[in-house]
Symmetry: C2
Subunit: 347 residues, 2 copies
Amino acid sequence: MSAGINVAILGATGAVGTEIIQLLEERNFPIAKLKLLASPRSSGQEISFRGETLTVEEVTADSFKDVDLVLASAGGSTSKTWAQTIVDAGAVMVDNSSAFRMEDNVPLIVPEVNPEAASQHQGIIANPNCTTILMGLAVFPLHQVQSLQRLIVATYQSASGAGAKAMAELKTQAQAILNDETPTATAFPYPLAFNVFPHNSPLNEQGYCQEEMKMVKETRKIFGDSQLRISATCVRVPVLRAHSEAINLEFAEPFAVGKAKAILAEAPGVELREDWENNYFPMPNEATGKDAVFVGRIRQDISHPCGLELWLSGDQIRKGAALNAVQIAELLVKENLLKTTASAVSV
Amino acid sequence: MSAGINVAILGATGAVGTEIIQLLEERNFPIAKLKLLASPRSSGQEISFRGETLTVEEVTADSFKDVDLVLASAGGSTSKTWAQTIVDAGAVMVDNSSAFRMEDNVPLIVPEVNPEAASQHQGIIANPNCTTILMGLAVFPLHQVQSLQRLIVATYQSASGAGAKAMAELKTQAQAILNDETPTATAFPYPLAFNVFPHNSPLNEQGYCQEEMKMVKETRKIFGDSQLRISATCVRVPVLRAHSEAINLEFAEPFAVGKAKAILAEAPGVELREDWENNYFPMPNEATGKDAVFVGRIRQDISHPCGLELWLSGDQIRKGAALNAVQIAELLVKENLLKTTASAVSV
């Protein structure tokens, strides 16, 4: 592998796939050969990488021969379709979909939080949900110092969470409303422009949507604490590509605000953004395109002696998806974990 | 008073004042004479009421002679300037500003919640903050049945909270961004279009902003429970005129979801909006212009055995301000409370 790694991007033309390709170039990932894969509809498209023009190929059973690493971001059903083929070909799959995240034999990784889990992989490593990654970065450093008991989060999620089509639709809707026309919605069930609505993923019997249960279950798995009490309310807001979150934390004992700020000021992947004089805190329009998760408004919760409140914004496509996947890939290279030892995949 | 009431609107040309005038007409408030008052800048404007054209007058020391009721929505400093004059003139002031809300001798009223407090007035009755009114309507009916212990709320507040100028600015900013131009912000400290940011009211030493402390303190006063534990995170979102709130409630004992829904289905001023099959819940674009507060997504909080989660949207200008003020006025008429018995105002 000293000559570099053969990498395939599955879902190369999507919002996340496009960002992954840029990040591989920006971060000088040690690539020998890059293969861009997509559905027949997108094959033939040309994408520039390190000054070369690469053509997107249709994914087939032969696509993964001689590939060491697959970065997949084409949705859960595509990941399920190709996972066994990828592992059988001897490649490691870093999967951005939710298909395998909760499987026992699939590590679910935020590299700043639980990098040690990577060594347990059996061919597939899952990239967590965007809201989970952003929250984990801000909360885990505190949880390490003092055990977190309960977490209540309300999200402010951008259109990008539903893909490039949804981002375009938000703009089209906004223009319609500004023109006094009635907006139409196809990517979303309801107009998002000048509106907000609870996240439209399927609801379970308890009334929690899938997105909320991802935050609950994935955070528990990443933190290695299956009993952690979490409740989430996920809401879409008319923002293009960065998510924000209002997080209420309850610890076993009081957590000094100054101590929390000092911890987060040093936390990897986190940038503290608090200018109390000017009421200036993290905002999604400033987090857009940035690697860091911006955290601020860290306050003692006045309703609970052991509570803290905090606020964050982070780029949904970048750290919420593509960057985290590339960081997992970098971790695999660094720890020499790109050789698979097993090929048992539950699909 | 059988011939009707002499009413003055202080701040007649603002977003809330305009809505109050419409509501007085719509609801057939028993008016003998309507006087429209504003700053010198707005005087001379003409406003239609019951088919007549009324001219806005500059407010002066003589404005309140022969006036029975003043509905004030011209901001805290204007309310403070004229309160004593109004009370001395024998009129009752229903004040929409925050100037007197926390004064011991000023009832703070949501008519569906604590109408009985009106009888204690000494010339001034305060209209609560918009987010407080909307939350109170949804939460008080549950609190009456089973004592609420703690409340954590995250808000999604529209531009209208900062007035008509802010609503116009949001549209201008959105158009600029759609044109790939850089938006400018004057009504707000930061661009609100395609963005969100923590509420920009002044922060206290604990890091809570004024808007958040209004939710905390006013809710306690309205509910008559000075010990109620409340924490709030107030956030502005790019919506024009209706607020939404994600509310986490903790009771002393488990509160059955079905029971909570049945209570809210009957609660005055509340409309239950839950279509779980279609993931259809309250949205600010549908709450706009409506009287009711729309409540939905009532769920058992999976992080606490005695917890409930709920979601609401309500028109900020209407029930969040103008309608509540007019309802207070209707209550004063019904209970024959328009005669003031005292004139002690702390200004």
